[in-house]
């Protein structure tokens, strides 16, 4: 009977936690919806005068798409820049550039951050469903890049079963890899930029890279160390992206683009950036005949219920939890050693440890992760997950050491003197008297740090670890909405952090009232 009561009580507690989590998630969702919903009523012209065409692109994407002009870093150049100018001048407007991260172009244009997105945006069915897309102004080939010695071994995706293949996240190529993962067990590795897939290929971290031939050829010139397989894995198109409600603007842009195709000025632009070839000429012919080549790649059902994504989200949540726990374990042990060194060590040691703490706290953890993973790859080539654990662990160790140091200093001198008169050695005093008492003081800030670490672990997606936030972003990109994925993601984070805070509170209560 008593046991049943306990079960009921704990169930009730669990329900209470879940309800609390859901309420929080709902609040979050409300905010997200209000901020993220397409704001049809707001006249875009109010934020941008009629004479201006605001266009969004990612200058980090670089040439030949969009890059800062080396001669005038304030202005942009690239074929997408020229196309934006063409559209603007056809509309009788002044182009105005808005910097936006590549992965956010679709969401930003829908929010009204700019009128048109142009940055090698790929024509994908799910984009077509949710936004107004222009005609395909460029046809690209998805090509496979491999190390020269593997060129006969890995000719196509089929040869890469069970191997790590890199690409840019939220792209057609990434979707192809995901499909291949289900089929052959190929391991997709998603990057946030299109440079590191190729450097990691040359470094041996991945076996192949699947990306647009434009990007592949550019990287071949820049970094080298690989060959491009002649056979295309698929064809795709670049389009300009408009907000769904802006289809009239899109139609005008289409007319302008058709004219520029006809009069050869678009060809000039592509020639100027050395991406013109026979395939492009045929593609222009098809577009002008109002019959764009049908997509050779059919990505099935990009939308869909969240049940399809739940296993991947749960797996990503497990990675987040494992990563955070290991990083925290490292941070706690290293932090304790740092704190002991700073309290007990001789002056030079104290000075050196202070420098470590200040450097780790004073520089962004993102930068540290980059340096650890990419910067040191010539010296030591860490696997991504290990680099993530070490990077977060080293960073958080600095914060932990500060907590432990102040906790150690907060233990009254009389406690230490009493221990001394009892014949305990300094190390025994630390281990048996000072440390345990300091731990009680440190518990609350440590819990705080662990919760912060759980969330900061989302940063490691920059070094290709797909954790909860990254997986959510992939999911959201696929279905074109952050509402449900965001709520699920928030709920999963809360399910990890709330029990932790609870355990910590209970421990604290036990120690202070026992």
């Amino acid at each position: 009977m008593a046991r049943r009561a306990r079960v009921v009580a704990s169930t009730r507690r669990a329900v209470a936690i879940t309800l609390r989590a859901l309420a929080l998630a709902f609040l979050w969702l409300l905010t997200a919806c209000t901020v993220g919903a397409p704001d049809v009523s707001s006249a875009r012209s109010s934020s941008a005068p009629v004479s201006v065409l605001r266009w969004g692109g990612d200058a980090e994407g670089g040439a030949p798409f969009v890059e800062a002009d080396p001669a005038h870093p304030d202005s942009m150049r690239g074929f997408d820049v020229s196309i934006a100018r063409m559209i603007a001048s056809g509309l009788g407007r002044e182009p105005e550039f808005v910097q936006v991260a590549y992965a956010n172009i679709d969401a930003s244009v829908e929010r009204g951050d700019f009128d048109v997105g142009l940055s090698g945006v790929e024509d994908r069915p799910e984009l077509r469903e949710r936004h107004a897309l222009s005609l395909p102004y460029f046809e690209f080939r998805e090509v496979l890049a491999v190390r020269p010695e593997d060129s006969t071994r890995y000719r196509s995706l089929i040869d890469l079963a069970g191997k790590r293949v890199a690409t840019l996240g939220a792209t057609l190529a990434y979707q192809m890899l995901l499909k291949e993962e289900g089929r052959s067990g190929l391991i997709p590795v998603s990057y946030d930029d299109d440079v590191h897939p190729y450097t990691d290929l040359a470094a041996g971290r991945v076996e192949a890279v699947l990306l647009d031939h434009v990007i592949a050829e550019r990287s071949l010139v820049r970094t080298g160390g690989f060959v491009i397989q002649p056979q295309s894995a698929a064809m795709g198109h670049y389009v300009a992206i408009f907000a769904r409600a802006d289809s009239a603007l899109r139609d005008s842009a289409n007319l302008i683009l058709r004219d520029r195709m006809r009069d050869g000025s678009l060809e000039q632009v592509f020639r100027q950036w050395k991406v013109w070839d026979d395939g492009q000429a045929q593609h222009f012919g098809r577009v002008l005949a109002a019959a764009p080549a049908p997509m050779q790649l059919a990505i099935s059902g990009a939308g869909g219920g969240f049940a399809r994504y739940l296993p991947a989200l749960l797996r990503a949540a497990a990675i987040t939890l494992l990563l955070s726990t290991l990083a925290m374990a490292l941070a706690v042990s290293l932090g304790a050693a740092l704190a002991a060194g700073r309290v007990y060590g001789p002056a030079p040691v104290r000075g050196m440890l202070s420098v470590y703490v200040e450097v780790m706290r004073g520089t962004p953890v993102l930068l540290q992760l980059f340096v650890l993973y990419y910067g040191l790859s010539g010296v030591v080539r860490l696997p991504a997950f290990l680099a993530a654990v070490i990077g977060l662990g080293l960073n958080y160790a600095a914060y932990e050491s500060e907590i432990y140091r102040s906790a150690l200093l907060a233990i009254p001198r009389a406690q230490l003197e009493a221990a001394r008169t009892l014949g305990l050695s300094e190390f025994q005093i630390l281990r048996l008297v000072r440390g345990p008492q300091a731990l009680r003081l440190a518990l609350a800030p440590m819990t705080n740090d662990f919760v912060a670490l759980l969330k900061d672990s989302s940063l490691v997606s920059v070094i290709t670890v797909v954790e909860l936030t990254k997986q959510t972003a992939i999911y959201a990109t696929n279905i074109g909405s952050w509402a449900v994925p965001g709520m699920l993601c928030a709920a999963l984070y809360l399910m990890m952090s709330l029990p932790l805070s609870r355990v910590a509170r209970r421990l604290e209560a036990r120690w202070s009232h026992a």
Partner: protein
Amino acid sequence: MSAVLEVRDLAVSRGEQHVLKGLDLTVASGEIWALMGVSGAGKTTVLRSIAALQPFSAGFITVGNVTLKPGALLPESRLRALRGKVGMVFQAHALFEHLSVLDNVTLSPIHALGVTRERAETVARGLLESLGVLARVDALPRQLSGGEAQRVAIARALALDPLLLLMDEPTSALDPARRGALGDTLRALARSGRGLLISTHDVEFAEAHADRVAVLSHGVLVEHGAARDVLQRPQHAATRELLASPDA
């Protein structure tokens, strides 16, 4: 009776200022000494010097066969011999807040002396019983009354079986009834052959329970002798002042 503590010509200075100067003191086994003086006279500094918690600038201190010399404090590794001979009970007791009463008393025997836990606990229970606090064996320090905490602190100091027990202002937080009980406890400890040096400004307590009294004034020992002689026929102005002070 053999001397358990010999202090010769002890001086402690803080910068230019003398905290203690030319202090001589001998405590024999079985004796209870009351070290008296107004607040700031230097009583606690004497105790801290003897317990090697405080460096001194001149003189020497001998406890049993261990001698402390002037200069910086020695590292704990070189104070081992002293630690087994001198027990100290702090004014605020300084019990380890995170440990139970039993663990407070057994911590040092187990970790400093390497006694088995079983043996240490048997000894600890015996000490706690003799001090009347065995019932609180599982309590944490914060759950104890002031009198209980003091007796646990005494038990903790006695667990190392010291020759000399130092106590800093033991009566300050006790009601009159408890003071009497403390006096009886101290007497029992003295009978077992230990020397006791107790700092206090409680004249009544000193008169009732101490064998000998030493009076400190401005860091100098101005008068010492049998408790009754000193307290009933004070020779020095500082002693008369002490006897006349309101909280004495």
